[in-house]
């Protein structure tokens, strides 16, 4: 399998933890349990805190709360990745 190149660095834990931001902590700690998003993705978009906050708020509540059954949302997520030929 071809090795994928790392294009962006991961923001180290000590930097993220120094923010003492309960919302960021909640997202990270939940990611270790849920697996989606993986903590590496949070560590990538942590380069830009304002963008991360807005992006993660949108995505978390889109996928994990709301009106539509989570099972269907997960099916959509997986199928769209296949149709879009996207590894992620």
């Amino acid at each position: 399998m071809e090795q994928i190149r790392a294009r962006m660095s991961l923001v180290p834990g000590e930097i993220v933890e120094s923010w003492n931001d309960p919302e960021v902590e909640a997202h990270f700690r939940t990611s270790y349990i849920e697996g989606t998003p993986p903590p590496t993705s949070l560590s990538l978009d942590a380069h830009n805190r304002d963008t991360q906050r807005a992006g993660r708020r949108f995505m978390w509540f889109l996928f994990h709360e709301g009106l539509v059954d989570h099972r269907l949302k997960e099916m959509l997520r997986v199928q769209i990745a296949r149709w879009r030929d996207c590894d992620y």
Binding site: Q3, F61, I80
Partner: protein, 259 residues
Amino acid sequence: MLDSKDRAALRFAEKLCKNWPELEPGDYNQLREFFTEPELVEVVILSAWQFGGPAMLTSWGAESYKRDGQVVLEALPVRLAYAEIAKTGAPPPPIPKPPIVSIEELLGRAERRQSPPARWLRFLSPHPFLTSTWAALYEAVVEAGIVERRIKQLQRVLLAERVNCDAWAPDGSPALVDAGIEAAERKALRNFDFKSFSERERAALKYADGLVGSGQVDDAVFDELKTKFSEPEIVELGYAVSVQNGASRVFRSLLKSAE
């Protein structure tokens, strides 16, 4: 086991992915047979986000930090935040609900800027929470942020051109006028002609073209991007394209309903 509701949602998503120019009012009417209007918005916006969001993470090389599809903490070059406490099994704190901005306020700002199209927010409005969080993301990365607005408005025009939907970034709209974007520049974007733009603008536009086109960004394009933008700026640029990538295609199909 799939039920009729599942199949309707998957049918919509598949058409968005494989044949989005053909999306039409009938596709939304099929969803309405099984979903309430707020649920329909949720299915559509989730499909629209998944159309473009994961490509952004792939463009950053997010997969390079996985082994056989899994994150292996010990194999990473840095210690990730809160990894130790996660290992103890302590339950995570709840993710706080974000503040909600009223539809009227969001529409007022969108109408003043013509960015995003107010009609798009009206489509989302049966689901006030999603309207607010989507608009907050859009405003944070397209209208505010650390990268100059002109670059993100150029990306918006490029996106409107590639999905053949002028109404996503209408000529003469205050957002484009404020950013100093002229008709000749729009024509150049339409023709994939980036030579009149600055090096920094070119790098951002090529990155956007990769995400909007095939969803793949070549090493050479990303390498150029990294010479012109910092990592915090690249995060913003990626989200600025992704929040619009699927949404603009859905929006284009909604306009057919109005014809």
